[in-house]
Symmetry: C2
Subunit: 247 residues, 2 copies
DNA sequence: CGGATACTTGAGGGTTGTCAAAATATGTGG
DNA sequence: CCACATATTTTGACAACCCTCAAGTATCCG
């Protein structure tokens, strides 16, 4: 992934100016941020629920998930995060995390101390606006998941998730071959994101395959019929706030 | 409600300094904000999905809900809002709303222009922090709803909602009699918040009544056995970020 | 009083969950 | 590179939860 070969903060600059221009001066200030790069092994947690954190994490590569655990051990994912995301920006103002953040794959993150981010935001209003936007787009995605949990059937929910993950990865430059993208999560993880059981996810997956809409092998998702999948899922990409041509 | 008799912005000051101190100077600046008070009839919408808004709304009295509509007409509520809440603070940085906001009861809101709020936040960092916090606590509540939709059974979900609404109203000073609070929403609205059908909500309500945990008559909720309700719902009020003695 | 809205109840069906086991894939150490 | 242990996927049978449809009752409001 080329992300890891360039300076980590250059990719942050790129991400924040994706939707809105940022002044040269602010860009230099971002590049000057103190940052420590950290690697995570698959299936390890970066943040445990209840932790107090003193830094925000910017995902350089790999897949992560934000989740909460219930008493009986059930798990619910609230979001998946890919390269370019900042999963815990809210820790800046709400330092005790109520959600955990874990890695599905090998992951590299850049940790940026709260203090440094705070200073940056005081001096550069356009960076503040970009970071706000980031938080709010993440919230918008969470909202859409919630619509799905409340009002979409299992099959539609899974189809919708696939649409989302494909478009987001395309927007992040992670789609190398049209119609294919990484999907390095197990059916159990999908189930914990969709509020279903692994068994049921498996059956839905079989049906979507039989309908020739998608395929999922070797941790990559192949979309066989984007048009039909989109209609079936009632997918409308506006909530992702990406460039219109990706929708 | 005494909220409507005092200056509307005084109640905003009170709300924002509920969790964090705000300097006297900042308090005066808040009181000097330009604001227009607006009344809403029951079952009318303040914001329609897709609207671009130029002001934020602060709820002075009444009950509101944030929702999204799907193609087939299904509705999903993502949050309920009571006096003291600021439902659409995020419109400051994401001006096109993807969610609608409607009134369940008679409602009065104070509308504050985006520009004025922006200026305020540039000059008073502690106000900025308080408003951020407000957004993030709202997001935290939405997250908990999501957990419920994904991983709690219907009865638990409804019980959990009742716990939440009671504690939030208590924190807002809206509980006049211990164990009783307003609940001015129909079973259909509950269903659209919980991802259930009105018929099923009705049956769950009957069961909770039969179990002598709650009662719901004349738009008020009576909690008959707080301890048992809390355990049944697996309710842990931390996510509400209110004072510990209310939990 | 009449109409509309909200609530209540019943019967039956479909989606999803539970339990259990087999088949396949993945990883590890010899 | 094979052998073994582990995790993941797949399938079946059955049960539970929740939905749909339908009708009747209560409540609110003009």
């Amino acid at each position: 992934m080329q992300l890891t070969t360039t300076h980590p903060l250059a990719t942050l600059v790129a991400r924040l100016s994706r939707d809105m221009p940022i002044s040269d001066e602010a860009q230099r200030a971002i590049m000057a941020l103190p940052v420590s790069v950290q690697a995570l092994e698959p299936n390890t947690d970066l943040i445990h629920p209840g932790d107090r954190s003193a830094s925000c994490c910017f995902v350089l590569s790999g897949w992560m998930g934000r989740f909460k655990l219930l008493q009986k051990g059930e798990r619910q994912f609230l979001a998946f995060h890919i390269a370019g995301d900042i999963p815990d920006l809210q820790s800046l103002h709400l330092p005790t995390a109520d959600l955990g953040i874990g890695a599905f794959t090998q992951v590299t993150v850049a940790l940026i101390p709260h203090g440094a981010l705070h200073d940056l935001m005081v001096h550069y209003p356009d960076v503040t606006a970009a970071l706000w936007r980031e938080v709010l787009v993440t919230a918008s995605i969470t909202n859409e998941w919630m619509i799905g949990l409340g009002r979409r059937s299992g099959p539609r929910r899974l189809a919708h998730l696939f649409c989302e993950l494909y478009v987001r990865q395309k927007a992040a430059g992670l789609v190398k071959e049209e119609g294919r993208c990484p999907l390095p999560i197990t059916q159990t993880v999908m189930a914990d994101a969709l509020g279903l059981t692994p068994v049921h996810v498996n059956r839905i997956l079989r049906d979507l395959r039989a309908e020739k809409m998608i395929q999922h092998r070797q941790r990559t998702l192949t979309i066989l019929d984007w048009g039909r999948l989109k209609v079936f899922a009632e997918f409308d990409a506006h909530y992702l706030h990406v460039e219109p041509q990706l929708m």
